[in-house]
């Protein structure tokens, strides 16, 4: 019989080795699948995957932007997760921030100076995201409702609000799309730095990353969040107002999501669609978990996920494969990476019988 027991702590070097081994195994399995199903040389496929993210300078910057956006959502979710509050509403909170940003760009572009427009967007987008997160938080704090379901359902409400607004703002009657906002004037667009459209987004998210690290690791709030996450009773015993911490943390979580929505609309897409968040609210959960809620480690895990997604896109284009094929490879790789965490946290004892005999 195999006996599973929890490990105390695996040395960092050993843990990294397990993870690298898992990735190597994943690539091997992917290679076998590729050859069996398509007859292509797996090395060509991997090379093309690499091309998807690093092939040209433009792709490289697109990748950095994607990493920044995903990282920003993941950072937003982290304080809530540390508190064991399962905020699955990132998608909706991003959309609300995006919606408010788009509303400002569409309705206020002619009314207020651009500087004021930016101030309004920078304030209102996080506020919208924060409100969207605060509603489930208040219900949790007050009536102990299930935050997983509540935050999840708030996503659908946000999607419908966006869908409604799109019909109000649509560019051609009945087309169901807003199109590029302020395309000719570029009012409310985050400026390019030099020639680079995305550098500012990357820098802003880098700031958020550092700030989140400091907040979680070196502030009283961060400590309170950790204590509430470990044990609500301990927190109460220490005199921490648990409900206040819950609501406050979710306000922060939602605000950073809302800020991401601002980055997407003002900085990247310059439009609003119901799928603008692109699943980042959910992928961000994985990014945060893989990185054990460490903001700097999240840079790595968001890079990994974006790299695989862009690689999958590139494969489907370069080899004329269905996009689903790239998704299969991504799925296999994720399976191994997540699976490796099991072997880092648990030990398999194959001589379990002997041990039992002694007991």
């Amino acid at each position: 019989m195999v006996h599973i027991s929890k490990r105390l702590r695996m040395p960092v070097a050993q843990a990294m080795a397990v993870r690298l081994g898992a990735i190597a195994l994943a690539l091997l399995v992917c290679g076998i699948i590729t050859t069996l199903t398509t007859g292509l040389n797996p090395l060509d496929v991997y090379a093309s995957m690499f091309d998807g993210a690093f092939g040209t300078e433009r792709k490289f910057w697109v990748m950095l932007k994607e990493v920044a956006v995903l990282l920003c959502v993941s950072l937003a979710l982290t304080p809530a997760f540390r508190m064991r509050f399962w905020n699955l509403g990132g998608e909706g909170q991003v959309l609300m921030g995006a919606l408010v940003t788009a509303a400002c760009m569409i309705n206020l572009a002619d009314l207020v100076p651009e500087g004021l427009l930016f101030v309004l967007m920078l304030v209102l987008a996080p506020v919208a995201g924060a409100l969207w997160a605060a509603i489930p938080a208040l219900f949790k704090a007050r009536w102990n409702t299930n935050e997983t379901l509540f935050t999840l359902m708030m996503n659908y409400v946000a999607t419908q609000l966006v869908a409604y607004s799109i019909i109000k703002w649509e560019s051609s009657k009945g087309s169901g799309k807003v199109g590029v906002i302020n395309q000719s004037s570029n009012v409310g667009w985050l400026p390019a730095i030099g020639d680079n459209k995305y550098l500012l987004i990357v820098l802003l998210v880098a700031l958020v990353c550092v700030a989140m690290y400091v907040y979680l690791a070196h502030s009283k709030h961060g400590f309170e969040i950790a204590v509430v996450g470990e044990s609500v009773d301990t927190a109460r015993y220490l005199g921490i107002k648990v409900n206040r911490v819950i609501v406050r943390t979710l306000l922060l979580s939602g605000a950073v999501c809302g800020f991401t929505g601002f980055l997407l609309v003002s900085g990247a897409d310059h439009t609003i669609t119901t799928t603008l968040a692109g699943g980042a609210g959910f992928t961000g959960v994985m990014v945060a978990w893989l990185a054990k809620f460490n903001p700097f480690a999240m840079i790595g895990s968001s890079f990994l996920l974006v790299f695989m997604e862009m690689g999958a896109d590139e494969i489907s284009t370069a080899f004329g494969l269905n996009h689903g094929f790239g998704d299969i490879l991504t799925g296999v790789i994720l399976f191994f990476i997540i699976g490796s965490e099991f072997f880092i946290n648990y030990k398999l004892n194959f001589q379990a019988k002997e041990v039992e005999a002694h007991v």
Binding site: S172, K173, G176, T273, L276, G278, V306, N322, G324, D327
Partner: protein, 411 residues
Amino acid sequence: MKQISMDRRQALKLGMGSAAALALTACKTGKDGGSGAAPAKDAKVGLICLHDENSPYDRNFLDAFNKAVEQLGLNPDSCLVKTNIPEGQECYDAAAELADAGCVAVVADSNGHEDYILQAASEFPEVHFCSATGTKAHTSGLDNFHNAFASIYEGRYLTGVAAGMKLKELADAGKLKGAAPKIGYVGAYPYAEVISGYTSFYLGVKSVMPDVTMDVTYTGTWYDEAAEKEAANKLMEDGADLISQHADSMGAPTACENAGVVDVAYNGSIIDACPKTSLISAAINWEPYFAYFFKAAQEGSTIDADWTGSLKDGSVVLTELNKDIAAAGTAEKLEEIKAKLEDGSLHVFDTTTFTVNGKQLDSYQADVDDDAEHKGDTEVVADGYFHESEKRSAPYFDLKIDGINLVESKQ
């Protein structure tokens, strides 16, 4: 990951492998040579598709692209295709990448790509861009930004005639579900392109069956197989004797095949996938435009800002008629009507054949410029008919005519 949206993952099983393989081989192994006066062979051209070959809409573009590449004798390695490009910043990125790669001409296949293509066009003035089905080129003021469409309403009308004859056959055999014939139509959005399409189809049916009515339902998406299937099922439950659609997946045709109700497809024959029920389809053949556009871009000659293909130049085609289910004499009738449409003796939107709110249409200001105001700016009714796709290529007929009912509209 980005793009969780369903559409990317929906794989349809309509000989997709073969279509993809064909498309690819045409691209990869397309033989050199081609027509005598072929332009420089090293020129690169690009195509951006919203979905991939699993969507009949996109497959239609992919096929035409490969044929045009072959026709012009271009080096197949220089035909770059980007599939599954959403209508967002990704489209700009894709267009910019194609420009970086040295393409002289780039086409995007979806209406929602337009703004992003426009953005790319303003940044890469040396590259010609076309937003197919778009509306903004004629007012954009850019020399390198273009739109193209075809008078597809004529094709729709013809398929409507085929459908009408089938309904007549059903009526004569006493097989209609209700007293009067009824059609169901699955549309994507209440957008002029869709409205023009179903109205012309309806008028074609009506020319054969004057008492026909049509229920239209919108799915609120261009591609959602489940929603389109559900919409078609609902329409059939509500008494539709025949279905047609303007949405890009195989949802509605599959529902029809399962229910044994005749379906008129759009933008490609699907008789292989639905042999029992798929009657015919009207399609835009993009090959003539692609050949013209790519050649002109290479040679540096002037390209129309707004190009409208027609029945005559082969841009509007009817795909194979399913002889097993078509009513007797359909093929001959279609030839006859087609000839009349081509010589101008018959007009699809002849104002004596339909009414709006009980009245004949004498005048209509259409929103041709498609500016922010959404107001009519051009008179389009003259000489007894509505002049569709003449003031600009993309359709602008957006009236609700009598006999067509909107049901369960999601918009």
